[in-house]
Amino acid sequence: MKNILIIDDEEGIRGLYEIEFQSEGFQAHSVSSGREALRYFEENRPVDLVILDIKMDDMNGLDVLEELRSKTVGVPVILNSAYSTYKNNFTSWLADAYLVKSSDLSELKEKVKELLTI
């Protein structure tokens, strides 16, 4: 079973995504900040894909992405933000996909499956 890590400071988003992806047959875990996410990786816990918010209080999602890319090779990252304009930030190009948040999660789920080649 594939492990998905959800990084978002919005509790409602984390809860929703966990339920949705678990119901799709994934192991879904979530953390509420960038620093927590980096610790999660330092603990060598299994992660097959990351869904990453950008605008968070303690550490910006793009900084987290840079950190992940410098330490972890090969984990697909989907940037998932309320902002469409972060697409213009070149760090966002380090991500495998960039999706604007929507109540319709079908596009996100499709992208997850695509990146995990399921």
């Binding site: 409602g12 988003i13 309320a82 902002y83 304009t85 213009n88 930030n89 070149f90 929507s102 109540s103």
Partner: protein, 572 residues
């Protein structure tokens, strides 16, 4: 005496002005005064035959005074003789000679020709000076260069004028590199000249009247004008007689003997003359141009005195031309200042508008983030519940309603966050160079900073954009570029064109080889969120119009920031 040597038609202008002689009747009474042969001319001299010829030619005038003198009354006769193209003027004074054995008549034949000629010369000079005076007065009444040129040419040619059949003016360009034909006047053929001069002889006009007639009339001298308008003479060509006269600031009468090369020959052939007066128009040692004048119709030789008069007139004409040109430049400067003032006002308005749009853009982004998250949660949970809910569940309708309305708000939000879809867009085609200059004018007070090089192939290129939005995008980029480069003075712009795109290269200067790289890393600095958002909006605007921003290498030196935007197409 005598004015007359050999025969009347040959005039000796160096002779004495008067001759005294006595007419002595051959007969004691019954003298017929209608025949000079009835008198002896005393003393006899070599002049006597010619005195006789003069008296005989003007017998009608002579016999009256002669008769008077014979009756004891003095008298005077005045008469003229045409001689070899000249008119000789004479006075014959006759008086009785008492005490002679027989009645005789004392005569003084006085030649007034030189006095008359001098008087005519004085009158002519008065006329010419009057003409110059009228022309100078006319110069003072206008600043229009064309009118001034026309006045000059009318003075040179109109009526008896300064005595020329045709006149041409060539003016120097601002850089004093060449003379170009500006205006000509005069008849284009003897027939046309005949008609004009015939009219003038019937109703002689003063210069003021000629000028008024010209102002009231339409186009004149089309043929002569077209002749001169095709002429351009480089001032570097020292072999050209006109260029040489202009460069040496020397008036000259050019005749066949002075024509040295084929160009000169062809120029004379074009004008159809073999003699030409060339007078430089000089004002305070600055060359304004040259006047050319000829006598194509009358073929009268141009005399040094004609040239001298033209020189005198040219001094006044040069000042008038210089004044007009300076006035034109002054007017141009005033226009530029006016335009600059209007631009400042417009720039200020554009700046306010751009700042407003920028604020709206930033607000849209904040709103997007603040609204989209709760919407995702509300709609997401509603969708989740709906999927797990049996079709007959009584809450289903409510959840469907929530899901549908959330989707609707999200779509509205998509539109709202797209700043370029805000209301009030006024798209049109604008000159890219002007837009960039306007943006620079809004941001930076020094018109020469940053340095802005414009490739000639982009000069008239237009882009189809909303002016305010484009200003907003460029302002964000240029502000950021100036910040990264350490000051506006360090950046420079190159505006060029590549096929259907205008490209604006922004360079941080020789001392900033990593300028473009730093620009990008600056974009990743999320600590200054507002500026980042400005850039994000700027990129969004550029992309909306089919453009983009990136790093490009140029001339193999180092990476340069560039913006490209398509030319001219209206976005559908």
């Amino acid at each position: 005496m005598v004015l007359i040597v050999n025969k009347v038609d040959q005039v000796d202008r160096t002779g004495p002005p008067a001759l005294y002689f006595v007419l002595e009747p051959k007969y004691a009474s019954g003298i017929d005064v209608t025949d000079i042969d009835n008198f002896h001319i005393r003393p006899q001299s070599h002049d006597s035959p010619y005195i006789k010829e003069i008296l005989t030619r003007n017998l009608k005038s002579v016999r009256e005074v002669l008769a008077l003198a014979l009756d004891g009354q003095p008298g005077k006769a005045i008469f003229n003789i045409d001689s070899g193209g000249y008119t000789l003027h004479y006075e014959l004074h006759c008086f009785p000679l008492p005490g002679f054995d027989s009645s005789g008549v004392g005569c003084f034949l006085i030649d007034r020709s030189i006095e008359k000629r001098n008087q005519a010369a004085v009158n002519s000079r008065i006329y010419e000076l009057g003409l110059i005076s009228q022309a100078v007065r006319a110069f003072a009444e206008t600043r229009n260069l064309s009118e001034i040129l026309r006045i000059i040419l009318l003075a040179v040619t109109a009526g008896t004028g300064l005595g020329f059949n045709r006149g041409f003016i060539l003016l120097s360009d601002d850089a004093r590199e060449c003379l170009w034909g500006c205006m000509g006047t005069g008849p284009s053929s003897p027939e046309e000249a005949g008609i004009i001069w015939n009219q003038l002889s019937r109703t002689p006009l003063t210069f003021d009247e000629v000028l008024r007639q010209y102002k009231a009339g339409g186009a004149y001298d089309a043929q002569v004008n077209s002749l001169i308008l095709s002429i351009k003479i480089p001032l570097s060509g020292e072999t050209d007689f006109i260029a040489r006269a202009a460069l040496e600031k020397r008036s000259v009468i050019v005749g066949p003997e002075m024509i040295q090369n084929d160009d000169d020959r062809s120029f004379f052939a074009k004008l159809g003359v073999d003699q030409l007066a060339v007078v430089p128009l000089l004002s305070k040692d600055s060359l304004q141009g040259v006047i050319l004048a000829d006598n194509i119709i009358t073929r009268r030789s141009i005399l040094p005195s004609d040239l001298h008069l033209l020189e005198i007139f040219a001094k006044y004409a040069s000042d008038a031309i210089e004044n007009s040109r300076l006035y034109g430049k002054l007017e141009h400067q005033v226009e530029l200042l006016k335009e600059a003032n209007e631009n400042i006002i417009e720039s200020r308005e554009n700046l306010i508008r751009a700042e407003k749009l920028s604020s709206i853009g930033r607000m849209a982004l904040v709103v997007a983030h603040e609204i989209r998250n709760p919407l995702t949660i509300i709609g997401g949970y509603a969708n989740l519940r709906l999927r797990k809910m049996p079709p007959e569940d009584g809450s289903r309708h409510t959840l469907e309603l929530i899901s549908k309305q959330v989707g609707r708000i999200e779509k509205t939000l998509d539109h709202f966050t797209s700043v370029v879809k805000m209301s009030g867009k006024k798209e049109d085609k604008f000159l890219i160079v002007e837009l960039i200059k306007e943006t620079l004018g809004m941001l930076f007070s020094d018109p020469n900073s940053p340095e802005c090089r414009i490739d000639e192939n982009v000069g008239n290129s237009r882009i189809f954009v909303d002016k305010g939005l484009f200003h907003q995008a460029m302002m964000a980029v240029l502000r950021e570029a100036a910040r990264i480069a350490g000051g506006i003075g360090n950046i420079s712009l190159d505006i060029t064109r590549n096929e259907e795109y205008a490209i604006i290269f922004i360079d941080g200067g020789e001392n900033n080889p990593k300028f473009a790289e730093n620009f990008y890393s600056g974009l990743k600095d999320r600590k200054e969120e507002e500026r980042y958002q400005d850039m994000a909006v700027a990129i969004e605007i550029l992309r909306h119009y089919g453009g983009d921003i990136g790093i490009g290498t140029s001339q193999g030196v180092h990476g340069r920031l560039y913006i490209h935007i398509p030319l001219g197409e209206e976005k559908t």
